[in-house]
């Protein structure tokens, strides 16, 4: 496929607001996870909460969109000058030629959760509750589109934890069919009770900071994040990272458990390699989905090692950020781009002893060395898989 370049990208997550604090935390191995202090949720777990979101209201002109998820989106848009870069692109291409494609899994459901607690004697929801502009899955995309004053094709992709990886594939296809010239892709997912209590009910929430691939791993730490990238056709520069390939697949196995041999995961990685015309030896690093559940990490190990063998360096960065669910794809895509830029192979933070049954090469320490291409995995409920390959395009 024709590579698409990421001239501008940004990320807000538990490590900080923007690329610089994120990279500092990665290179100093400082986790963003903290004991759960979200609302009055008494679950014994660690979370990747973004402090101060509560004090960052939505701009006045879009007040009807005010909710935690859109506040997080707005924080992302103003980080690293992303909104300014999009405004410049808008002048180049025209507002209707830039698409907005964002991933989320729960959007602003927290508003509805809280509104249900404020029902009146007759059971009606409070007057000030707005569903469409907060909770509906399109809300975040509509908000970002209006905030950036873009008028191109727009949609939300909501495939649970692969949502904001699949946005890259969707954007590529829109550009391939000449429906737009550039795309703002990304993902926003914020803490809510649905996911904290839901994953607890599935008994996959860890009481310690998550330990991906560890022999003693016992579940996920939930995080929140907003990440964005401006995707454009190459303009002759080879010093900015590019999307080189993507692969999508389904497990066709189970709603909330991965295929035990990672068959769907393997297919997604294989398709990404085929599409980028790369072989496994040309991938310098794999950012694993690595949620730290028993089932995910075992299946992913089988998928990775049967395809790549035992040498390719791998790690999950969820020990830093937590599992940001619908924003996991973009979070790890941007972390991947940062690692390419800075020459970092990040460790699997919090992991002390790799599961002895694993074959893949899990990194326990940060390695500072140049890398040219990386692959990022994102797998979601319903057996929904996406793999992305980023790297520097050939000059």
């Amino acid at each position: 496929m024709q590579p698409l370049v990421l001239n501008h990208y940004t990320l807000v997550n538990a490590l900080g607001r923007g690329l610089s604090p994120t990279f500092t935390a990665l290179s100093t191995k400082k986790s963003g996870l903290r004991p759960c202090d979200f609302l009055d949720v008494p679950i014994n777990t660690y979370i990747g909460r973004i402090a101060g979101l509560e004090e960052e209201p939505i701009v006045a002109r879009l007040r009807e969109f005010d909710c935690r998820n859109n506040r997080l989106a707005q924080l992302g848009l103003v980080s690293d000058g992303f909104d300014t870069a999009v405004a410049a692109a808008c002048n180049r291409y025209g507002a209707h030629r830039i698409a907005v494609i964002l991933g989320t899994s729960t959007s602003g459901i927290l508003e509805t959760e809280q509104a249900y607690r404020r029902r009146d004697m007759k059971g009606a929801l409070p007057e000030d509750f707005r569903y469409r502009t907060t909770h509906e899955n399109y809300s975040v995309t509509d908000f970002v589109r209006r905030y950036l004053k873009l008028e191109g094709p727009a949609l939300t992709i909501s495939t649970a934890c692969s949502s904001s990886a699949k946005v890259f594939a969707s954007a590529y296809r829109l550009m391939d069919n000449n429906l737009c010239d550039a795309a703002v892709v990304g993902g926003v997912d914020s803490l809510c009770m649905t996911t904290l209590y839901g994953f607890s009910a599935l008994e996959v929430v860890s009481s310690t900071p998550c330990r991906p691939a560890d022999a003693e791993r016992n579940g996920i730490s939930i995080g929140e994040a907003a990440g964005f990238a401006l995707l454009e056709r190459p303009q002759g520069r080879n010093d900015v990272p590019a999307l080189l390939g993507y692969g999508e697949s389904s497990d066709a196995y189970h709603m909330s458990s991965p295929h035990p041999e990672g068959a769907g995961a393997r297919l997604a990685m294989k398709r990404a390699l085929q599409q980028s015309r790369l072989d496994t030896t040309q991938i310098d690093y794999i950012n694993l989905h690595g949620t730290a559940t028993r089932a995910n990490d075992s299946a992913e190990d089988l998928a990775v090692s049967t395809l790549f063998g035992r040498l390719t360096p791998c790690s999950s960065t969820k020990g830093w950020t937590g599992h940001t669910l619908g924003a996991a794809g973009i979070t790890e895509a941007i972390i991947g781009c940062l690692c390419l830029r800075e020459g970092l192979l990040p460790a699997s933070l919090n992991t002390t002893k790799v599961d002895p049954n694993f074959t893949m090469n899990v990194l326990l320490e940060n390695h500072h060395q140049p890398l040219v291409r990386m692959l990022s995995n994102s797998f979601g409920f319903g057996g929904n898989n996406a793999s992305l390959i980023f790297g520097y395009p050939e000059p």
């Binding site: 094709p153 949609l155 969707s170 599935l202 066709a252 769907g264």
Partner: protein, 271 residues
């Protein structure tokens, strides 16, 4: 973009199948006044059917009907699922449970609540490992799904099953988001013409704002405005018609989709 339609299915108030809606549109047969039958989820295994919500069942029912009318294999088809509100009943039940002091959430209800649950159930039941996407664009979810499915079909050269489903919220959310009578529509799209019922030429229109195509029948026009899935009605009407038709659908913001539908008569009769 040029794409071919190989399978059609619909289930909405007044019509349980594409044949019923088509007969009404072509021959003026009455729409049924019987209450809409609850979706069955026939392709699901017994255990999955017990876990599945009405949204999931309606989605897999229309998906299966469209697949049958296409004569294609489920394993070959990628899936695009579109809905404005997703699984309305499950979302209500979750928020209700989270408002109790115990906050006990059922694991099944939790995994059913993700927007891609119907797509997940479909892939498990049909055995398809092809890519599967689930999207939302508010009231324009069908139009956005049509673009997503068509661009995927052409770029990846894979046949795509596009399923759009909307169901009403129970109270109290219904008061905030009224409408959305149960409506499901599914189309099988392919880049290859052989064995197709119609060809669609799809483009995004901006500079020449045309009127969005409405339904002449006031009952169907009311229904069209009811949900994102029912906004497919003008396209279905064009597919039922004999000649070439232009359909204009509302798309993102002030963009519109212009869809030229040309029936192909390689089939002896429409599905």
């Amino acid at each position: 973009m040029i794409v071919h339609i190989k399978g059609i299915a619909v289930n909405g108030p007044g019509f349980g199948s594409w044949a019923e809606l088509r007969n009404h549109l072509v021959a003026g047969t009455d729409l049924t006044h019987d209450p809409q039958l609850p979706p069955q989820g026939t392709i699901l295994s017994g255990a999955e059917r017990r876990r599945a919500s009405p949204t999931i069942k309606l989605a897999v029912d229309v998906a299966q009907a469209a697949l049958l009318s296409s004569g294609m294999d489920a394993e070959d088809l990628a899936l695009v699922f579109a809905s404005s509100n997703g699984d309305t009943l499950t979302i209500h039940q979750l928020c209700e449970a989270l408002a109790t002091p115990e906050r006990l959430v059922s694991p099944t209800r939790f995994h059913n609540s993700v927007h891609n649950a119907p797509a997940g159930y479909w892939s498990i039941a049909s055995g398809s490992r092809q890519p599967s996407s689930s999207i939302c664009a508010g009231d324009d979810s069908f139009a956005a799904g049509l673009v997503e499915a068509t661009s995927q079909c052409l770029t990846e050269d894979v046949p795509v099953l596009l399923v759009t489903v909307d169901l009403p919220f129970p109270e109290p959310l219904y008061e905030k988001t009224p409408g959305h009578q149960p409506f499901g529509v599914a189309l099988v799209l392919d880049s290859h013409a052989e064995g197709s019922y119609a060809q669609m030429t799809i483009s995004i229109a901006k500079s020449t704002p045309m009127d969005v195509t409405s339904m002449t029948d006031p009952v169907l026009e009311n229904l069209r405005c009811d949900s994102s899935a029912s906004r497919s009605l003008p396209l279905l009407a064009a597919l039922a018609a004999a000649g070439k038709r232009l359909v204009v659908l509302r798309y993102s913001g002030d963009l519109q989709l212009s869809v030229t539908v040309e029936p192909l008569y390689v089939h002896s009769s429409c599905p």
